[in-house]
Symmetry: C2
């Protein structure tokens, strides 16, 4: 274990997982909250669950094709609630701004947050604003935390043969950030958007769900496998991905399975419900797809044209500051 | 209105107020939440209120006499809930860390958060960790958001002659940060601590309460005056302040009334309850004191040995990055 924090610790892969574990070991405390390893924590409150999540956004650049840091700050936190089965009821918005930051850019970002929140009827309930000296912070960091209410938490036991569905093409958010960062000209746009409506449409079928942000579907599937003490096998040919997003990853030597989406989710449904759930999701997005199934092994396997290989938990620098 | 963000916009005074107003004007949205001008937002949920708040901490230096950024991150958010009448039920903890930051320092900070939370039986429910490249952020930023539950919100109408009580000596947190920043040797320690127990002890008497953090009691009283469309008159001789804290402010040309506390609150109680509330608070802290009363003017007046003067809303750079 190194004695200094590295970029690896923030990339959403294995090193992030280890750091969070170390922090959580200190914070172990008697708690009425569940879900410390999930995207949100939840607690029974009367007949409902109250669901609580937080995310700080350090995306660079702040503006990219298809959105800006404000849009992903609003989507990211609402989506972390949605994948637990909750409907967001309020967000907090905390800004840490670099001295000299243009007010026009700030306003654009706040307008994006407002538009995104309005589309989901989720108000910004409370906020905070801090400023740091020029050169002491890279432009802007946004924290959004969120409260949601759920009748039921998506936390059903999963079994071998249960199916894995992805709600649309993957890796476009990460690819959009990369095209902007490297000055490529492409048609790729960030996929950032709220996913609550899609999730609600197949609520009755979802056993568990996650949004594949930092670390992509590789991190998400490995986390789900660990949590459920199971494995997955997915079929490369079925994974929806746009050619251009794939190409950008190839050029940069990255695996598209390690790259973030900000408007997609992965869910596990029972075998009997899978086709139906896929059909319903395809009304929202034609690319929604069953990509594989649960196994009794403890590894995530990807079947390719050339055979099978392990899809490991991402590790190393991945793409820093993607969200 | 300038077109760039300045340090003034983050100092908790008049310029901060104006920026927040501009942001809130964009975010106006139909909302079930109240309290957008308070320390926390609140919403009816069954027979209770759910209370929600957020704060990002950018304190520099990270360690100072009497505490560190972790302690104020835990206290600050719990105290923002407490001054609304709520009992905290969970915090979120979001870390943004500079690459190369020593893990030992991080662990010390997390231990402080844990100790503070344990003392109040308030768990960290959920978290997030991001890393930024060396030189892109000054060491560490912490966001804590918090959820509390309240039977009643401290939001009673206030009238002329109601009394103002401060729960202990003021400005010590700010003074401690300043001594550390300038390398002074003093006995001043940050006053950072949770205030829930004191507040609970006089719950039945509190009409409204605030914690005088950024901008000190000057900002707090001016905000309360504005919100309630009233004025205050306070008596300088009665304001509890340690000689050393006063001295540090004098040396630096600062008003102690503009300087943050992180473990104090100001509350308004009716005239008939004031002596009783003061007595109860003095069991916790001998320096708790009735310092003045509500008036029908719309200004905050301070009576000094030399006569009366207006205590204005602080403005200008104040002390940056005090919390």
């Amino acid at each position: 274990m190194t004695d200094k924090i590295s970029m690896f610790h923030g990339a959403g892969g294995r090193e992030s997982e280890e750091l969070v574990k170390e922090i959580m070991n200190i914070l172990r405390n008697v708690s009425a909250w569940n879900g410390s390893n999930d995207d949100s924590a939840y607690m029974k409150l009367g007949n409902n669950y109250i669901v609580f999540t937080t995310d700080s956004f350090v995306a660079s650049p702040l503006f990219f094709p298809g959105g800006n840091i404000g849009k992903i700050a609003a989507c990211g936190t609402m989506n972390d609630l949605a994948v637990m089965g909750a409907t967001p009821v309020g967000l907090s918005l905390s800004l840490v701004i670099e001295e000299g930051f243009p007010k026009e850019s700030l306003k654009k970002i706040i307008h994006s947050i407002n538009t995104t929140c309005k589309s989901e009827n989720t108000p910004v309930a409370t906020g905070d604003t801090k400023v740091m000296e020029k050169g002491k912070i890279d432009k802007l960091i946004i924290n959004t935390s969120g409260i949601g209410i759920a009748k039921k938490i998506f936390n059903k036991k999963i079994y071998a043969k249960d199916k894995i569905i992805v709600s649309g093409t993957i890796a476009e958010h990460g690819a959009a950030i990369l095209t902007e960062r490297f000055g490529y000209k492409t048609n790729i746009k960030s996929d950032a958007k709220p996913i609550l409506k899609e999730i609600t449409a197949i609520k009755e079928f979802i056993k568990q769900a996650r949004d594949p942000t930092r670390g992509g579907i590789a991190a998400t599937l490995n986390e789900l496998a660990k949590k459920n003490n199971c494995g997955f096998v997915i079929d490369e040919e079925k994974i929806p991905i746009k050619k251009e997003a794939k190409k950008i990853c190839e050029i940069l030597g990255l695996s598209p399975y390690d790259i973030a989406s900000e408007g997609r989710f992965i869910c596990i449904v029972s075998e009997k419900d899978a086709i139906n759930a896929e059909k319903i999701l395809q009304k929202f997005n034609l690319d929604a797809k069953i990509i594989g199934e649960v196994t009794n092994t403890k590894t995530v396997i990807i079947k390719t044209k050339f055979g099978e290989r392990i899809l490991p938990m991402p590790s190393g620098n991945l793409v820093p500051r993607i969200c």
